[in-house]
Point group: C2
């Protein structure tokens, strides 16, 4: 087992120095918080992870999930974690005080989530889902549902899920067919199947509450006819007793990784005895669900970054301890071998990981800050924050997961053959992280969302707002000797990016939808590099500022990693530009027989 | 299970059309072969794979290897395959007729190896290793060793291995310490440990013959003091009886993938009773071993390409069958969903895989043809072929493995959540292929070999020879309307490549070894793209030629994939150029404390 899965110093740097968390505390909504209380919270979260999460990471992978006699058996630690985080108030911490919450800034909610995920991505998934599902009831459900279901979920007593996917409806939710038939008492009889339901069932927990999408009998086809329901495993009858609600687990999925995280296949209403409650209005289900999905997308991005963090520190530790070979300029075999961290290529692989982890976390904190500021602003200011958040959400999902996979893969490579063996955590982490580009909308879906929807909103207003933000960072970076070169690189990159945006939106305006969207994935990759370049320039600039108050290895390391990003990662836009400027689009020509 | 793991038509196109296998048959050494006999051999190899290899791919993964009471238990099919391929003469097929071989062209040996690996990469590894180890005895051992050991290995009765790595000596073989002490009878007493020994031991087989590197007592430090030994699990005593030779399996490695391929940890001479025989002369062991390593490097590249082939056809099948979503320009939910192969991004992921698989195989066939031609040429012609082969070997190892991982990863992504589950082969294939960038020298080691050794040989003669070959292909491509654009792209890319080579070799000449080699990996990536671009231009040109004799989907698909490569892959050199032209080399600056 590795000693370390994150850097405290980095979390604080990103929170306080880069994203100015303390600015929030001057707002009355957040004024119960202070740097001191936040420091304590971070320590408590790390302490909890050290005790309750990290020690079980490997064990949960090895034990896996068992499905026996219709029951799902998982590691007992999962429910303990859910209970403890419920009792501590963490699951509902972002709610207003008057609803029993702590008005916790999202920046802190996400950063503690980063800590928990870095320690044990399988175990914490259950808790995260429960919070998201409860929030959905809280936002759109009536008081009855809030009192009966959300309360138990916030307390960490009952598990929550999001139940969207069906065998024939994955990326295309508009084709879902789970049926809801109104009953005389106001409830709905539900029948259908849901697959790939994370945390969908396990023995230890008293009840599982599915936030389920279904189509009310007679509702329109497509997304316009989708409604949201609370469908519990056990429904509540008189005197708060629970009875079986005809939600049967047909099986579990055997996955490459996240062996501790139960993924279930549910049969709903097979005995015609499953009742659900409508959340909010009929036919608005997908819109409601997007609240949870948008949050989940950022959290999946966060999970990618956090797994990559654990991998980075495991490979860094190995690279500091393992000796092998000599410096290429002095291959004297009588000298002792050197630690492999001294080899340029190993350092490249370490910088790559650090650049991905810390760049991604910084972007996610940027998003979190917008969420927090939306609570204390209004009018155009608030609308602008919303637009920026909408634009950045798919990027914050894709970059940390796609590049997280690359990062962990490089971490594994640092260990040579040992990296491929279960004796070191890289093997597991590279299996675990692989799912993150699939969860909550694949990279392809996110890319269509970014280019096909977000870039076009209000005639491209969101992108223009982003460019203003990036230019602010460039202006600041122009003030420091060590960042001025990179400020000009980012400025040039942004100009190229704008050229591409203009070209693509021009195609969209001609109504050539297929041509417009064919290379959405490449546009996403380009957007990710620009956006993370922005975050690295921000971090580098802050590091320069802080250096005026005192040098440190930490700050020097930040500056070096910024240089790494601008030297090794940013130039990738050159190739993407060439491809995106090409007029002949290979992938939409010819029929499918062209692939043999 | 997928239906298909390779394309016959592609194998034949690459063999006959692109690399002109039939040219060889006019040489007396190969004149027993004809297109008809080769076609039959290919069918036989595919038939063997369909029967004996492919059906066990998944089963071997699920069952894994057991280590019990000091014994290694593997799937029984492994030894059956070794025996059958031994009996059929395949293991020694490339040997001259007078030594019992078939004078089989390496092009055919490698392409059958591709077929076997695509069907079951774990099972065939044992046989491939046995052949390589036997070839080493055949090339450098005396008649006694050939008669006693190599013969049994060629017959597929005994297992062969290469035993190099030790706990403290992996990438740096110069530090190996396994000791050999001369005995009065001419043998050597061996003591030491060897780790990561593939196929190192299993119950079914009568004997395992390790081709082992060790240091004779008193030999110099470093690579100059390494000798090669035959160290059997059981040694031969009078009347050809076998007795235990004190080679103990201490354990097996539990790996991410290749669960059917036993990776062992050996303790040698713990009871001071292990005897080995010197192969060839003392202290020349590493030089000898390089014969096997060079071959193995190409075979590992081939394995990468073949696993990616299996993944490509599995994801292609899924993409043709699975329906989901609609065309972005006509999102009418009343229409039926379309097969996902119709989505541009899915097609991009399929083209990517096809480009990697077929480009890699073509490069490996280029190498194989040089090996074959070396047998029928001499003087400068032969020397030039040797230089080209030496230059291309590390590239043929790295591109198919590094990009093979990317390809399989894209194959998995095509399946969405199902790709992450064990119900489809992508999950296993992506675990299996991950080891290929570590086997036989990591990508980092190959990159140092390419830039630090191969590019400098004879003042860069090998690279110049390669450029001549590439320019020949460009000249041919200039004759067809459909390839002329890509010929000019490759020409431009080659010019850029030459600029980088000039820059880097200039640094080498100044004696700045660290600066020279710091970005060897990026130089490798650049070299791989240029080289595979060459192979795609070759394939595209041949497809155009063949189209004059008749159109086909197959040829059209080749041309489209060439276009894919030049549109999506070749432009990546732009970013690599920027990084490689940068003078400030981040990875060799500062001390290791800069990574925190």
């Amino acid at each position: 087992m590795a000693d370390k899965y994150l850097s405290r110093e980095n979390l604080k740097f990103i929170l306080y120095d880069v994203h100015q968390l303390e600015d929030l505390f001057s707002q009355s909504y957040f004024n119960e918080y202070s740097k001191e209380s936040v420091d304590m919270m971070l320590e408590a979260a790390i302490d909890f992870s050290d005790r309750e999460l990290f020690p079980y990471l490997e064990e949960m992978d090895r034990q896996g999930i068992r499905f026996k006699d219709g029951e799902v058996e998982i590691h007992p630690q999962v429910y303990k974690v859910l209970r403890e985080l419920g009792e501590s108030g963490w699951i509902m911490a972002t709610l207003p005080n008057e609803e029993g919450g702590m008005q916790l800034p999202h920046m802190l909610y996400y950063i503690t989530s980063f800590i928990y995920n870095a320690a044990n991505n399988s175990a914490i998934g259950y808790t995260g889902l429960t919070g998201g599902a409860a929030n959905l009831i809280r936002s759109f459900g009536n008081d009855d549902l809030k009192g009966k279901y959300a309360a138990k979920m916030y307390q960490g007593k009952w598990q929550g899920t999001m139940a969207l996917t069906e065998p024939q409806a994955g990326s295309s939710l508009s084709d879902l067919t789970t049926k809801a038939v109104p009953q005389s008492d106001g409830s709905y009889k539900i029948t259908g199947q849901k697959i790939f339901i994370s945390g969908g069932d396990y023995k230890d927990v008293e009840n599982v509450v599915h936030l389920m999408l279904a189509r009310i009998e007679g509702a329109p086809l497509g997304t316009k006819g989708i409604s949201l329901f609370v469908v519990p495993k056990k429904r509540i009858i008189e005197d708060n007793n629970l009875v079986d609600n005809d939600v049967i687990t047909a099986g579990i999925y055997h996955k490459m990784g996240q062996h501790g995280y139960a993924t279930t296949h549910l049969m709903i209403g097979e005995k015609d005895n499953c009742l659900g409650n409508l959340v909010g209005e009929a036919n608005l289900g997908l819109k409601y669900m997007f609240q949870m999905m948008n949050d989940s997308r950022i959290v999946v991005g966060l999970t990618g970054a956090s797994i990559a963090s654990a991998a980075y520190y495991a490979s860094l530790q190995y690279a500091r301890e393992r000796t092998q070979g000599r410096n290429p300029s002095s291959k004297n075999v009588e000298e002792s071998p050197i630690e492999i961290i001294n080899h340029a290529d190993v350092r490249r692989m370490l910088f790559l990981q650090k650049a991905v982890v810390e760049g991604s976390l910084s972007l996610i904190m940027e998003c979190a800050k917008y969420i927090d500021l939306m609570k204390v602003t209004n009018g155009e200011e608030k609308e602008n924050l919303e637009l920026l958040l909408e634009l950045l959400t798919p990027i914050a999902k894709v970059y940390p997961t796609e590049m997280g996979i690359v990062a962990v893969n490089n971490g594994l490579q640092c260990l040579g053959g040992y990296g491929y063996c279960i004796d070191f955590p890289l093997e597991q982490l590279s299996r675990d992280i692989r799912i993150t580009t699939l969860y909550e909308g694949t990279t392809g879906i996110q890319s269509l969302d970014l280019l096909g929807r977000k870039m076009l909103m209000q005639d491209g207003k969101a992108a223009k707002l982003l460019w203003i933000e990036i230019n602010k960072t460039i202006a600041e970076a122009n003030q420091f000797d060590q960042t001025i070169k990179y400020a000009s690189q980012l400025h040039e990159a942004l100009t190229k990016y704008q050229t591409i945006v203009q070209k693509l939106t021009g195609i969209a305006k001609q109504g050539k939808t297929e041509e417009f969207l064919a290379d959405a994935n490449l546009f996403m990759e380009l957007s990710g590099i620009i956006t993370i370049g922005w975050q690295w320039l921000k971090q580098g600039t802050v590091a320069c500022k802080n250096q005026d108050m005192g040098q440190s290895n930490f700050l020097e390391s930040k500056i070096q990693t910024m240089k790494y990003f601008f030297t090794y990662e940013l130039p990738k836009i050159e190739g993407l530009m060439v491809t995106l400027m090409e007029d002949e689009i290979i992938t939409i020509k010819g029929d499918k027989e062209l692939l043999v």
